[in-house]
Amino acid sequence: MKDACSAVSKLLEKYFDQEVTKEERSFVEAHLLDCSACRDALRFMEELRTLIKVPVEEAVQKEDFPWVWQKIERGIRLEERPTFWETLQSWLQISSIFQRKVWIPFVATIAVLLFVTTQFIIKKTPSYSEPYVVEYIESETYNIMIFESEKAKTTVIWLFEVPEQKSSTS
């Protein structure tokens, strides 16, 4: 019986895992009828399988897998969200004009136009500074008033006579 046991023990696991040939199966089953030690070994393997498998199967039954799929979808979407640079690139590719690489001269033209227009607007609205009185001198015959304009860098000297006399300006 011991010799038979050692021969069967080599096949017992294969038998339990259903990996034996027909002949091997018949050999093992014939031996199991008479050998309690091999039956115990087989029972242990069955118990071990139950111990490992049953909690897993029960956990599977309880799970809400559609919810897991939603989390996966969300995860993929987050990964695929484009960066700022990618968004800019895709925006530039929207128009067929941009795809033809015409956008460089286009942007350059806009820049030149902006520059010219800005100059024109600045010239049209010059800052105007009023001339202001620098000095006022009174005398018996003439009064003198001196004006200065900072922007035009001009100085005006105004000479005028006192009342009942001829007036002159320069």
Binding site: D17, E19, M45, I52, E58, V60, I72, E79
Partner: protein
């Protein structure tokens, strides 16, 4: 790999999210079983499933069809689960109160003492599984939980059938010894 599956994978490689959904529908329970088999904790197992399918979507372009698709997916699931288990460290062996799974359904199994016994047993299985070397633990999970054949296991684990048989044999033997030792220690205590 049959024609439908080849087409499905090809669609997924082109970035079709519906194809990924079909793959998910087909394989999510299998991936979950592997994940739960390794970490024995619900939340972690769900995180692993999520991570595996996102990884798959990212890397499926690299799948050249040289191996079977499910072995490719199983390997990815196993590696992800083992990474999680390593990160969790000893924390996966939570207190009895936190243990999930093994909720008896009716009759005598509903008695508190019976529930406690089953929980203790489940806890012991957890600890024993964790004490096994990774390759032996995986062999046991592939065989006992997923019911893979030796040939399928060899493909998923990237080894020969002989190695698979040897890993299974030593895993079962060690499991038996560890459980026996634990029982002896309990009796002494």
């Amino acid at each position: 790999m049959n024609h439908d599956e080849t087409e499905l994978i090809s669609r997924c490689q082109q970035g079709d999210p519906n194809a990924l959904k079909e793959i998910f529908d087909q394989y999510h329970k299998k991936v979950y079983r592997i994940a739960y088999g390794v970490v024995r904790q619900r939340e972690e197992a769900l995180d692993i499933v999520q991570e595996v399918f996102i990884k798959l979507y990212r890397s499926i372009r690299n799948f050249k069809g040289k191996s079977k698709f499910y072995t490719y997916l199983y390997r990815m699931a196993v590696n992800t689960a083992i990474d999680h288990a390593r990160r969790m460290g000893k924390s996966i062996f939570s207190s009895l109160g936190e243990i999930e799974g093994f909720q008896p359904s009716d009759g005598i199994e509903k008695r508190p003492d019976s529930i406690l016994l089953q929980r203790e047993l489940e806890e012991r299985v957890k600890v024993t599984l964790e004490r096994l070397p990774t390759d032996q633990r995986m062999a046991l999970i592939f065989r006992e939980v997923e019911g893979l054949s030796y040939q399928e296991m060899a493909e998923a684990m990237g080894c020969s059938i002989g190695t698979v048989m040897s890993r299974l044999h030593y895993a079962r033997k060690k499991f038996q010894e560890l459980l026996k030792n634990d029982t002896k220690e309990e009796r002494r205590g």
